[in-house]
Each structure stands twice: as C-alpha cells, then as structure tokens.
C-alpha cells in the first residue's frame, strides 16, 4: 500500500521527484501500522486488556489481595464465598457491606453449614490497612479493599486451613506467570540461538542440529515430564525445585521455535539485502545481528505470546497432579491440587476459582497473540 502511494507520487521529472520525496512524510512506520491494525481487531484488544489485568494482579498482588498467602482464619475453615450487598434489608440503597456467617451444625448429619447473620454486618471500604506486604523492598500495609472494622472478608471463601482463596489466587498469579515467562524466555533464547545459527551456517552443522531438534521433539512429553519431575530432590528448597521444574519445561520447549526460525533464516539468508551486506564486506556476526535477527522479531513475538498460555496450562496441570510447583509456593495449579478428590470438590466448589483465572489468562494471551499475528503480517495490505 505504501508502495502504491509512493509510485503514485513519483512525478515525471527528476527535479519534481525530489520535491515529492520531501512531501512523502505521511508514511507510517512499521510499528505504527502494526498498532493501527491491532487496534482495529476487537478480539485482540480484549485480549490485550485481559493480559494487562493478569499482569497487574501479578505485579501488585500484595495490594489487590486483601490478605497474605499464609494468613489463616482459624474460625473459618471451608468458609463459603461472601457476597457483597448493596441494599439494606428494607430495600434502600446502602454503602456496600458484607454479612458475617454464623456456623450451624445439622444435628442429624453433623454437617456444618454457614448461614449469613444479619446482625454481624461489616461495611466495605477501599484502601484499608491490613497484612503488610513488600514491593521493591518497600513495606506497605494498604490493600485495595477490605472491611472497615477489620473483620475477615472472604470473597471467594476459604480452604481447609482457613486461607482466603481470592488472596491466594491473586498471589498465585505471580508464580504461574513467573513460570510462564521464565520458560518462554529461556526457550526463546535457546531456540533462537540454535535456530538462527543452524539456518544461517547450514551444511553439516545444520544437519546435526536439526537431528537433535527432531530427537527432542520426538519425546513423549507427558511421561517424560512426570519421570523428570520424579527425580527432582524432594527435600530441596521450594525455589530450587521451581527452577529445576522450569528447566525441565525449557528442555522440551526450545525445539519448536528453533525449527521455525531455521526455516525463516534460510529464506532471509538469500534475501538481496543480506547479499548486499556481504558485498560491502560485512562479517557473519554483523549480518546476523543487524540483518537476520531483527527481521525474525515479529515471528518471535508472536511465538512468545502463544507460548505463554501453553506453559500456564502445563504448569497448572502438573502442579495439580502434585508434581510441579511445591508448597509453600502458591500457584493456580497447587491451589487446584487441594480439590483433587471428589469429596472436597463437593464440599467446597469455590476452591475451583483458579480455573477461572487460568481460562481468562489463556484466552487473553491467545487473543493477544492472534491479534499480534494478524497485525504483524507483512503481506496484509488492508
């Protein structure tokens, strides 16, 4: 399209041509075009908003979550979610409030049930004091919302130890997302280096590298994850296990991007601008850094946005099985691990809340990736 306009503006004489060149400033840069195309895609923009939401809850977990990860409410084991009320009992509008729950025991089944207690009323407020949390080394104790009286408020109920599900879910975003970004980033770096080198140098090196890639890709993923995780030292620090778990995922994930980039680099290698660089005497290192890698960046960005939700799903799944992230670290998967038996699912279905977060984040990252792919398509001429 730019070409079309450019040609149109080419005028008939050389003198005019230079004048035209001066006028031709309306050209949009590549990234401006990408942004415009992206903004036109509603699904992609919704995905972007979702991604920002998920990222924010990871970064500002301490502020958004009303309580700390390990903060226990011993009086509220398996406490069901409390709803926020906006109306008084007589139907008039009120400041948002919650009702405390009174514990009642069914004398026939000995089942404990929670029923709202109208006399135990607590007003809600924004920016209240609570558990302290730190951000960039600074201590804070303000939370996004809470009760003015200091009474506990469980938006999504509590688990078997009386820990607030909503708070843990927000905190869990951190570990889950950290895992996703770590695995995606490391796989991207390894895959890019291997793929670009393999495609650019070709020959025997390419042959050997690609056979290794095929070997890695031919592993049956799931049994291998389980087997590798089984050999992780049980007694090690949770952080060490976390890193080793991430390393295992990276080990099996770099191969895809390296194969894709190899193909792209083979095509780029024969582009005329690369040959032009050779003809001015540029070294391989310079050609790779200035000509080849920058031109694969859109491919990498799209791959990364698709990879993130895949890692999130995988982490959740393995942690749900109990072989991934280990307590006391909190991820969405480890939270789901608490509802792995049918009884606890029937007794406390609200423990499934992280599933909603997983769905939201996977959909959001996928939608964002889709939008980016369409927006960055160099052949789109609309």
């Amino acid at each position: 399209m730019q070409h079309w306009r450019g040609v149109k503006q080419m005028s008939t004489t050389t003198i005019n041509m230079n004048a035209e060149a001066n006028q031709n400033t309306s050209g949009l840069s590549y990234w401006q075009l990408v942004r415009r195309r992206f903004m036109r895609n509603r699904y992609g923009v919704a995905g972007l908003i979702g991604c920002i939401f998920v990222l924010c809850s990871a970064i500002f977990a301490g502020f958004i979550a009303p309580y700390g990860v390990e903060s226990k409410d011993r009086k509220a084991i398996y406490h069901p979610p409390q709803s926020i009320n906006f109306f008084n009992e007589d139907g008039s509008l009120a400041r948002p409030y919650i009702l405390g729950f009174a514990e009642e025991m069914d004398m026939n089944t000995f089942e404990i049930t929670f029923v709202p207690d109208p006399s135990d009323r607590h007003d809600l407020s924004l920016f209240v004091d609570g558990d302290s949390w730190s951000f960039l080394g600074m201590e804070f104790s303000t939370h996004l919302f809470g009760t003015t009286s200091g009474a506990k408020f469980h938006l999504l109920g509590t688990d078997s130890l009386g820990r607030d599900v909503f708070s843990r879910m927000i905190w869990g975003t951190r570990i889950t997302l950290l895992m996703g970004i770590l695995v995606m980033g490391a796989a991207l770096v390894i895959g890019t280096s291997v793929g670009v080198a393999s495609g650019y140098y070709g020959g025997r090196f390419d042959l050997v590298t690609q056979r290794i890639v095929e070997f890695v890709k031919s592993f049956p993923d799931l049994p291998l994850y389980l087997a590798l995780v089984a050999i992780l030292p049980r007694r090690a620090e949770p952080m060490t296990i976390f890193i080793m778990f991430a390393a295992i995922l990276v080990l099996l994930r770099w191969a895809d991007i390296s194969r894709e980039l190899r193909g792209k680099v083979i095509a780029l290698r024969s582009m005329e601008y690369v040959r032009a660089a050779v003809s001015v005497g540029a070294s391989d290192k310079r050609i790779l850094a200035r000509h080849i890698v920058p031109n694969t960046s859109s491919h990498m960005i799209v791959w990364a946005t698709y990879q993130l939700p895949e890692v999130i799903l995988l982490e959740s799944f393995l942690s749900f099985l109990g072989v991934g992230v280990q307590a006391p670290m909190v991820s969405w998967g480890t939270m789901l691990n608490q509802v792995r038996d049918f009884q606890s699912f029937a007794a406390a279905p609200w423990l499934m809340a992280p599933v909603a977060m997983i769905i939201i984040s996977v959909l959001a990252f996928n939608a964002f990736g889709d939008g980016m792919r369409d927006a960055m398509d160099p052949y789109a001429n609309d």
Binding site: Q2, M10, T12, A21, S279
Partner: protein
C-alpha cells in the same frame, strides 16, 4: 458503428486500509466492441487491473465499488448481478488470463482435467466429450504434442506452455470478452512475442472483444486497435492506437511515450586499461535425482567456460533469457558465488581463490546493485544505517560526522534529499529505493559496479530516469559497469559492448550497435525481433 459489447461507465473503486481510504479508481469509463482489442496502459498503481477486476467482480474484500458505477455487458447491467449470476458469466462469456502462469494453474491436477472442469462447470456434457474439446483447444493454442499434454502436470511444462494452457482455459467456453491482465510480463521476450501473436490470431478467428492490460508500449502499439491511458485511477487519454501514438495530447501520454529507453552510451576511450576479466569461467551445479537406490548425478553447467573483459569506463551488457546463466556469471565475477573452475582478475590481481577475509580490501572497489529494490534494502534499518554499514565495516570515516558527510554526498549523487536518511525504505517508491540502493554502492567509492537488472522491477518512466542517472554517474566517477538485463532496449541505451548468453554459453558478443543491428546468430536474431518488433 456497432453497439459495444462491454461498456464501463464511471467506475469508482476505493480500498479501506489502516492508513485511510485509497481511491484506486476514480470514475473510469471505456467500452469495447466485438472483434476489437482495447489496450489499457498505465504504470503500477494506475488502477488498470483494479478496473478489470471490478468488471469480473473479483475485487478484494476491503474494496468499495462506487454507487454510480455501471458495467453493461451485452446489453445487461452486470454491476447489479448477484455472485451466483456472476459465476455463470465468469469463465463462460467473460474470461480472464492472469499475469503469473506459474501460479495460476493448480499444481496437483493434470492440466487436461483443469481445462475440462471449466467446460463441465458451464456446459453439461460427458467427461469424454469435454476431454475431446480440450484436445481441440490445445491444438488451437498450438501446444506441441497436445495428446500427451492432457495428462501432464503444470510443473512439467515451461512458462510459455503454461500460459498457452491458461489461454486454452480462457477460450474453453468461447467467451465474448477476454480480459488479459499483463499476459506476457512474466515470460521471456521470445515467448512473449509468440503468445501475443497467438492471442491476436485467436481473437480474429473467434471474433472476441479483448481488453489487454499492459505497461509495455511496444505491445500496445503492435497489437491493439484502441488505447486507454490511465494514471492515478483516471483515464487521461483515449483514442485509436495509431492516432494516440502519432499525436499524443495529454502531457502524461507524451511523457510515457518519451520514456522509452533511448540515447547512446558515451564514446569509449580505446586505450583504457582492463578492470575486470575472466578466463574460462565455469560453474557447474550438481543435482541428484532418481530413487534411493538408483540415484543419478546430473551436472547442470550454468556458466560454460566464459571469458570476458571489461575496460575502465566501459559498460558491458550481458543479455539472455531466464536460465541463461547471466546472473550466475555476474555473481561469480563479484565473488558472491563460488566458481567451479577458471580465473577472475580484478585490476590485475587474481581474486577467484581469495576467501572472505582476503576479499575484503576488494569489496569497497567492487559493488553490486540488485534487481529488486524491495528486497535489497533491509526493512528494519533507516536509510542512514543502510548506507553507513559499508563505511563502518570497512573503517571508512573515523567519526559519525565524517560518515554522515559521505552519506549526504552519495545521496546527492543519486538526487535524493539528505533528509531521506532518517526514513525507512518502505516510505519510498520503487524508483527512489533503487536510487538508495545505488547510493549504497556509491558511498564506498567503487571502481566497478555490477548492475543486476536494476530497472526491470520499475515502471517505464522511472526506468528512463535510472538509466539517465547511471549514465551521469559513470561520467562523473569514471565507473565501469557490468549490466545484466533481458531488455535489449535498455542495453542499447547504456552498453558499449554486449554479450548474448544462452544455456550458459556465449552465443554472440561484440559492440552493442553491431550486435543489435546485424545479429549473426539465429538466437540473437530472435531476441532482437522480439524486443523491437514484438509480433512477427
């Protein structure tokens, strides 16, 4: 005069794009009668193909056709036709031939079946009867050995043969109107002449109306009855071809007609020293074919013992059709490709054995301008970075300011403004990009530049400007050029001497004037005929 078969009235087509609406066609009207050839001429972006696609209602999804547009075919207003009605019309009464014969046939079906499908879609008959018709069509378009062709796949045929199949397909249902969109642009010149001759003949025998879309003025002059000249989506001039060519009214038409490459190269100093030469240069590609156990080696000789000499200040042309080995030869000479045997000398030094590091001192002296200005500039770098690369790599210009001065000088040499430095290549048109590519070569102050079809991706009027520029730069910097082209007109305007290549061998060489005016070789003869006379 008879009632026109097709009447295009006030067609307006806009395209919605991210950067705003583009008015591709702004009120175009023309008409064509049975037995008549209408040529639509214009440079890329003039809206000539878009108008044709609007007739077929085959526009892209983001196109908006204006409400006032009316297309009348055979007395019916087809601009209001539904998609279903158009389907009955397309390939039946109106058919179209596209530019790319390499991609417009489906590679996984036999060509006979592909043509038969068109017949069966529009006329119910048995498969056998349809195949018999296809055979007749293949004979009509003069495909050699037509029976055997029926069961061939597209990849088994040459470009010219594929275009003949496309023509057979277009003629399958005896259309009243044939739209040919640059039908010969992708073909070699000698094949081009044959295809155009065939089209002309078929038009006469079928009494069809033909709309020929092209940018090639020689083709227009030799084949059409009427001509419409388009620019910026508007018709600037129309009339009988002879009249328009003899006496163009609109300044744009005059300019277009004047931009045929012309002029002569400057006289050559006969005592000039040799800059570059090759001695029995040979490049062989080894390919393997056959099954796993019956693997055979096949040696393709791309360049067959070629010796060439280029003097200082000389422009040497290498001419040949695709596959003749001209690009392989040139790329070998500048050491962008390894050779199998033979020697290359540059300024007295033998350079064919040098490795990449040893070649580096020569790189600034030997430069290359590539064919396609759209792929020869890195889209992620601004013009300044593109031009600066050679300077940085070769350590020319100690400071950024010094390098900037050199870049400004090179841009001035190619008549580009200095503020182009801060912009990305995609902000420029094809001609401007080719100027930038030439500036990239010039900034290193080379003695020799290889020009690999530098004008073939450009429009005619821009082509003329680039030729003028190259001539001027040669004079100013005392450059020697090796100029590769398939276009004899450009060669005639620019080259002192010419080498004609076919199948990797030199079939004729000598001073350009002599070779072009009295070719001794039969192949050269055909090339010259095709380039300057088009239809025999």
């Amino acid at each position: 005069m008879t009632e026109p078969l097709l009447k295009v009235e006030n067609v307006v087509v806009d395209f919605r794009t991210v950067a705003g609406t583009v008015n591709a066609v702004r009120g175009v009207s023309y008409e064509v009668a049975r037995g008549e050839t209408l040529a639509v001429v214009g440079e890329s972006g003039s809206g000539k193909s878009v108008t044709a696609r609007a007739i077929m209602s085959m526009l892209a999804e983001n196109a908006i056709v204006g409400a006032e547009s009316r297309i009348t075919f055979d007395g019916k207003d087809i601009s209001t036709f539904s998609e279903l009605e158009m389907q009955r019309l397309r390939g039946n009464q109106i058919s179209m031939i596209f530019q790319e014969p390499l991609t417009s046939l489906n590679p996984i079906y036999r060509v006979g079946d592909q043509v038969a499908e068109i017949i069966l879609t529009h006329r119910p008959m048995s498969k056998k009867a349809a195949m018999a018709e296809v055979l007749k069509l293949f004979e009509e378009v003069r495909l050699p050995n037509p029976e055997a062709r029926l069961s061939q796949y597209p990849h088994e045929m040459s470009g010219g043969q594929r275009q003949r199949v496309m023509i057979a397909m277009a003629l399958a249902n005896k259309p009243d109107l044939l739209i040919a969109d640059e039908p010969t642009t992708a073909l070699d010149v000698t094949v081009q002449a044959e295809i155009l001759g065939l089209l002309k003949e078929l038009q006469r025998s079928h009494n069809m109306a033909v709309i020929l879309i092209t940018h090639d003025l020689t083709v227009v002059e030799k084949t059409s009855d009427k001509v419409v000249v388009m620019r910026y989506g508007e018709v600037v001039e129309r009339g009988l071809t002879d009249v328009v060519f003899a006496n163009p009214q609109h300044p744009y038409t005059q300019h277009l007609l004047a931009s045929e490459p012309k002029g002569k190269p400057d006289a050559l100093d006969p005592s000039a020293p040799v800059v570059m030469s090759s001695d029995k240069l040979r490049k062989v590609y080894n390919t393997q074919y056959g099954g796993f156990f019956s693997r055979k080696n096949y040696e393709l000789v791309a360049v067959d013992d070629i010796s060439a000499t280029l003097h200082k200040g000389e422009t040497l042309g290498i001419v040949g059709e695709s596959g003749s080995g001209k690009t392989t030869l040139a790329m070998s000479l500048v050491r962008l490709q390894e050779v199998t045997s033979g020697a290359i000398y540059f300024d007295g030094d033998r350079i064919d054995q040098l490795d990449r590091a040893a070649m580096r001192p020569y790189r600034t002296r030997i430069q290359v301008v590539f064919q396609d200005p759209f792929s020869s500039l890195n889209p992620r770098m601004i013009v300044r970075q593109i031009l600066e690369e050679g300077l940085i790599v070769n350590g020319i210009g100690k400071t950024a300011a010094e390098r900037e001065a050199l870049i400004k000088q090179a841009l001035a040499d190619v008549q580009m403004p200095a503020d182009a430095m801060q912009r990305f290549p995609h902000e420029f048109s094809g001609g401007q990009r080719q100027r930038i590519a030439i500036a990239r070569a010039l900034v290193l102050q080379p003695e020799f530049i290889l020009l690999d079809e530098p004008t073939s991706a450009l429009d005619l009027s821009i082509q003329a400007q680039i030729i003028d520029l190259l001539r001027e730069l040669r004079r100013k910097h005392d450059l020697s050029y090796l100029f590769i082209s398939h276009d004899l007109k450009v060669i005639r305007a620019l080259c002192h001497n010419v080498i004609v290549m076919q199948h990797g061998q030199v079939v004729e060489e000598g001073p350009t004037e002599q070779v072009l005016s009295s070719p001794t070789n039969e192949y050269t003869q055909r090339l010259v005929d095709a380039a300057f006379n088009v239809v025999a």
